[in-house]
């Protein structure tokens, strides 16, 4: 087996956030997304030679796509429902393949998300934690929190919208600082 180049590892590390986002957009489960990322990383690191890789970013997205498709195929054969439609798979793949945002953007975006999360009230963060870290269904969160399912859904949605708005403000500011 040929040694993977340091360069390839560096590229994988550089693009992992984008690749993870792509995988998660289709897999929609943090645990499954990490598994798929892992399979993808193995494929990338085991590629014997660099021939044919003119654009690592595009190539690695292609590898990620194949790994996601294989994951979805497996899930379908296991009878798992709630998988994305073929149309959605095609869309997510297309928009990710076409996305040419600068790599710096992803790092800035993640830092902005971290800052914005810190601005949310602890109670809201607890809701998000239950939903997205612990993976609890809305019904269970509502039961624990003592509210209605609808109210919890709305609160979580509002929190994500607030995060989105905050992240975009940060990114605009970062862009303005970068160009000035």
């Amino acid at each position: 087996v040929t040694q993977p180049t340091d360069e390839r590892l560096a590229l994988l590390l550089k693009h992992r956030w984008e690749l993870f986002g792509f995988i998660q957009a289709l897999v929609r489960s943090p645990q499954d997304a990490e598994d798929v990322f892992q399979e993808m990383a193995v494929v990338i690191m085991r590629k014997v030679a660099n021939e044919g890789i003119h654009d690592f970013r595009a190539w690695s997205k292609g590898v990620a796509r194949l790994c996601v498709l294989e994951h979805l195929r497996r899930k379908r054969s296991e009878g798992v429902t709630l998988l994305p439609t073929d149309e959605m798979v095609a869309l997510v793949t297309d928009v990710h393949m076409a996305d040419s945002a600068a790599e710096l953007d992803f790092a800035t975006e993640y830092e902005a998300l971290r800052t914005c999360m810190g601005k949310l009230p602890e109670r809201t963060r607890t809701l998000l934690r239950r939903r997205f870290v612990q993976g609890r269904p809305y019904e269970e969160i509502a039961q624990t929190a003592g509210g209605s399912v609808g109210a919890v859904r709305r609160a979580v949605a509002r929190a994500r919208l607030a995060l989105l708005a905050c992240v975009e403000r940060h990114l605009r500011r970062a862009t303005a600082e970068g160009t000035s």
Binding site: G21, M88, E111, M117, Q134
Partner: protein
């Protein structure tokens, strides 16, 4: 019937409605028909596609960011000790492991105290104060780059178990009445232990002539060049640090592998402590015996671990993703009487 009913896509032309629908998709709350309508709406305009990408990344980042913040908030006091270090570098390098902390539930402090007390149980000797050893940490892997959240499954049902006393210390001399070694953790990977979580690596048939199962390392989001076995628990520290704790395990590295690292995440010091061996055994089972006091800080060498520090993760990293796999078996964490401590950490102990 309204126009919107007739053509659900038209409802999604406003940014707000589209955002709401994308979030529902990410929550798996859309029916196939609703999803197809969303696809049409996103395809229709470039800005919708950008919005989708941004929301998808935001959604992917939330768990990791929250987990990281949990780690930071619970250690605000101790982080002041970083005054010696390069703050910017520290911020960047501690992120990956912060992100893997997962949720630490209320009551951790009490559980930690219980574990620490348990480890001291049956022991009446005093322990030496921590010292700052010479030497430099050998960084393992590459934690630079964009901060991606590692997603950690949470099992809130895990319960703290009191440690058990044993006299089977790693190096008890024959014929000597040995003070009891306190066994804090023992994993043979034959069955899932409810107290701990293997968040990296999975149980599989052992290689070589060994029967039964071991755990094979898998690819970590942060150190993708090597295989990792990561063991942790979220309701309580995996280990409460003492100078006399020894971590030992059998390992099998496929021929060609050259390195083996043992790394811990110290919640109280907010940094990784680790040790790397270059002289590993290949192609057969061997045993690593690691004294926790030999691990060095990755961010700030001058900050030693202290008695009672909460160690929430144990990582064993070895092999290469491009080639040699790594298997781990019979992991033990023991508080060993000072007189029975191995003279140094080693990866050459014979495997039983």
């Amino acid at each position: 019937m309204s126009t919107e009913d007739a053509n659900p896509t038209s409802r999604l032309t406003s940014g707000e409605a589209l955002t709401e629908e994308i979030l529902k998709y990410l929550d798996r709350d859309l029916s196939p028909d609703e999803e197809r309508a969303l696809v049409s709406a996103i395809r229709a305009r470039k800005e919708h596609q950008r919005l989708f990408l941004r929301l998808a990344r935001l959604h992917a980042g939330i768990p990791g960011v929250l987990a990281a913040m949990d780690g930071e908030e619970s250690s605000g006091a101790t982080r002041k000790r970083w005054r010696f270090g390069d703050r910017a570098r520290s911020e960047r390098r501690r992120w990956p492991k912060l992100a893997t902390l997962g949720l630490v539930l209320v009551g951790t402090a009490g559980a930690m105290a219980a574990v620490t007390m348990g480890l001291r149980w049956a022991r009446s000797r005093s322990v030496s104060p921590p010292t700052i050893s010479q030497g430099s940490p050998r960084a393992v892997g590459n934690t630079k780059g964009v901060n991606v959240p590692a997603i950690v499954p949470v099992d809130p049902a895990m319960a703290v178990q009191p440690p058990a006393a044993t006299t089977q210390g790693p190096s008890a001399p024959a014929g000597t009445p040995a003070p009891p070694t306190v066994l804090a953790l023992s994993l043979d990977f034959e069955a899932q232990d409810p107290k701990v979580m293997i968040t990296q690596g999975h149980m599989t048939a052992s290689p070589g002539e060994r029967r039964g199962q071991s755990v094979v390392g898998t690819v970590d989001l942060w150190w993708p060049s090597q295989y990792t076995v990561r063991i942790e628990r979220h309701d309580a520290p995996l280990i409460s640090y003492l100078d006399t704790i020894v971590v030992s395990f059998d390992y099998w590295l496929e021929p060609g592998a050259r390195k083996l690292s043992v790394i811990t995440w110290n919640r109280d010091k907010q940094q990784n402590y680790g040790i790397t061996f270059q002289d590993v055994v290949n192609g057969t089972w061997a045993r690593a015996v690691i004294r926790l006091e030999d691990l060095r800080g990755y961010l700030d060498l001058r900050v030693p671990q202290e008695q009672g520090d909460r160690i929430s993760q144990l990582l064993i990293i070895g092999g290469r993703t491009s080639g040699e796999r790594m298997f781990i078996d019979n992991l033990r964490v023991e508080d060993v009487p000072a007189e029975l401590l191995p003279p140094e950490s080693s990866v050459h102990a014979p495997s039983p």
